[in-house]
């Protein structure tokens, strides 16, 4: 028999002491589903003829996301919490909660990806490899080409975010960070219009992102050096065992935080945010501002609370300073912005600051949180939910307000739209009020909880600064309302039109608006949900 031939020819080597790792495939199903869907999407790109690709991609993406959602929810409701895949991934309630949020919002963003605003083309470039302004590009546009690769890219990104939010090991976290960042870099460069800006945004995002992840990685290596393991639990044990915090641990902590804060968009690691938000295609901006923020914040809390809980007194100070800087810069610079996407970028920066207030507070079960109340984590999640709803809603609206040559994002061109389209004005008003944290919107509940959590964690002064600067931030949100309703449409607003929206877009818009309202009035179920999900497995 040939098999014996083969085996006889093998060098007689001693067997390694390796046992097969236990991988809980059932529990990890959401990840596998998304990964599988993304791979199938790539195959569709390769094998399906061009004209039927679009439908196939949307189908696969939506079905994949829904299946992952169902699987996540079933695991969550079954409270199947454990450290899986050799402790590399923590499937705990926060993970499931974050996954749910990520998937739900991604579903909304799929609608944005597919939004054609009454025309025939999405916001994505016809052929990314052509040189802007070249004959090839014109041909690609004329041939109605379009990149349907954006769907698999988005799915890979979602996959990375899900792993990132639930990773219990720094190396896994780093890999996940890159899995979700790399597709985003590419997506950024794929705007159909203003392609030079888009490419520029991608280069900036990429270079700074790569720098920050390298810094994160160095921090990871230092923490590994200090503790002998990449696992958060082991790092925590090693850190707690030492009476004083060693320099190497502190350096590692700072560098890891830098990487995470970059993704969150906190000052002084915020430089990329406005440019990238402006340059990227709007659906991608929406995706970035919502999903990246959720994943980044959850990752940050997991690393800080689980892995570096013992260093609380050290990182709280650092984070407090960053939070103040973020709030101040985000609010003040936002005041002078006149471009909607940049404005939303600064808004996103200041929101990151408000979120950091709660993260800094670190009011958790460990620091004496009572059952039935809420701590830092759940407050942050409620805040993020409200923020995400308003952000996605705003981006749907940005996709609607158009002029020849694409979206019209100059604030001045929005003048008077509130009057000619009262419902549009009402929706923008609602979202802006939610951003500003005016009561009866989701934004208010979020702000209330975030500042309460910060205060309970012993950072009353930080909450005060946050509150004072939310007034400043409120000013620029209100200015949008003001422009829409009361400013006379000037030269800039000529030939600005409100495009019709697809059904998917409408659904997303309405869900966002209703969600913002409902969450502002009856937030209890959501708070309870996140509250029950706020205990990290360690």
């Amino acid at each position: 028999m040939i098999s014996t031939v083969f085996s006889a020819s093998v060098l007689a080597a001693p067997p390694l002491e390796v046992s097969a790792p236990t991988i809980e495939y059932g529990l990890l199903a959401p990840l596998f589903i998304i990964m599988g869907a993304a791979c199938v999407s790539v195959l569709v790109e390769a094998l399906v003829p061009r004209e039927s690709r679009r439908g196939a991609q949307i189908g696969i993406t939506v079905i994949g996301l829904l299946a992952a959602l169902g699987s996540t929810l079933s695991s969550w409701s079954g409270a199947r919490y454990q450290l899986v895949a050799e402790q590399a991934i923590a499937l705990d309630a926060p993970s499931y909660a974050t996954w749910t949020l990520l998937i739900v919002f991604s579903l909304g963003i799929v609608a944005l990806f597919e939004e054609r605003s009454g025309g025939t083309e999405t916001a994505f470039v016809a052929s990314a490899s052509t040189v802007p302004g070249s004959k090839l590009e014109r041909e690609a546009v004329a041939a109605h080409l379009q990149h349907t690769e954006v769907y698999p890219l988005m799915m890979f990104s979602v996959l990375g975010m899900m792993i990132f939010a639930s990773s219990n090991e720094l190396i896994v976290m780093f890999v996940a960070l890159e899995i979700f960042s790399l597709p985003l870099y590419l997506l950024c460069a794929m705007a159909r219009r203003r392609r030079l800006l888009s490419q520029e945004a991608a280069v900036k995002y990429f270079l700074l992102g790569a720098l920050s992840s390298a810094i994160f990685l160095y921090g990871t290596a230092l923490l590994y050096g200090a503790s002998g393991s990449f696992s958060l639990g082991a790092i925590d044990a090693a850190v707690s065992a030492q009476p004083g915090s060693s320099k190497i641990v502190l350096a590692g902590m700072v560098m890891v935080s830098v990487g995470l804060l970059f993704k969150v968009g906190a000052v002084p690691f915020h430089n990329w945010v406005p440019d990238v938000y402006m340059g990227a295609p709007s659906p991608v901006t929406a995706f970035m501002s919502v999903a990246t923020k959720i994943a980044g914040v959850v990752g940050l809390t997991r690393v800080l609370y689980v892995g570096l809980g013992g260093l609380r007194w050290d990182w709280q100070v650092m984070l407090a300073v960053v939070a103040v800087a973020t709030i101040v810069v985000g609010s003040l610079v936002g005041l002078v912005e006149t471009e909607m996407k940049r404005l939303l970028a600064y808004s996103s920066i200041s929101h990151a600051g408000f979120i950091l207030v709660a993260v800094t507070g670190a009011f958790t079960v460990q620091s004496g949180m009572a059952k039935g109340s809420f701590g830092s984590w759940s407050s942050v999640m409620v805040y993020l939910t409200g923020y995400a709803l308003a952000t996605i809603g705003m981006f749907v609206i940005i996709a609607m307000i158009r002029r020849a040559g694409g979206e019209s994002t100059e604030l001045a061109s929005w003048a008077g739209l509130g009057r000619s389209h009262p419902w549009l004005g009402a929706l923008v008003t609602l979202f802006m009020l939610s951003f500003a944290g005016i009561p009866l919107t989701a934004g208010f509940i979020g702000k209330l909880m975030v500042f309460t959590a910060g205060w309970r964690g012993g950072f009353a002064w930080l909450s005060l600064i946050g509150i004072l600067f939310s007034l400043v931030a409120a000013y620029f949100y209100l200015r949008v309302i003001w422009v829409m309703f009361f400013r006379k449409p000037g030269h800039a607003a000529e030939d600005v039109a409100v495009a019709p929206l697809s059904i998917g877009g409408w659904i997303v818009l309405i869900v966002c608006a209703l969600g913002t309202l409902v969450l502002g009035i009856v937030p209890q179920p959501l708070i309870e949900m996140f509250d029950n999900a706020s205990t990290f497995l360690r």
Partner: protein, 99 residues
């Protein structure tokens, strides 16, 4: 072997990477600086792996390598694209948004 030497070397490499990133205006050079930083991290990890007598650090280095490669692919794609449309890779020339 004295692990400190390796750690210091990797720290120096890392610092060179950061400085290169900050002070060189060419996107490709900046990007190569980042790659240098990643490799410095690899050295750190492998050194610590030796210190702790565990394989974790070496496996980590493997992952870093693969990520670095993926980053190269994506990053160079972006840089090449912008080079093709702008004919420059200087980060200072990439300034449409600074107004």
């Amino acid at each position: 072997m004295n692990p400190n030497d390796y750690l210091i070397l990797s720290a120096i490499l890392f610092a060179i990477g950061i400085l290169g990133f900050l002070f060189r205006r060419n996107a490709i050079v900046a990007f190569m600086s980042v790659e240098l930083m990643l490799n410095a991290v690899n050295l750190t990890m492998v050194t610590f792996s030796h210190v702790h007598g565990s394989l974790d650090g070496q496996i980590g280095a493997f992952f870093v390598m693969i990520v670095a490669a993926a980053e190269v692919v994506v990053g160079l794609a972006i840089i090449v694209t912008i080079f093709r449309s702008r004919r420059t890779t200087s980060v200072d020339d990439v300034n449409l948004m600074k107004y």
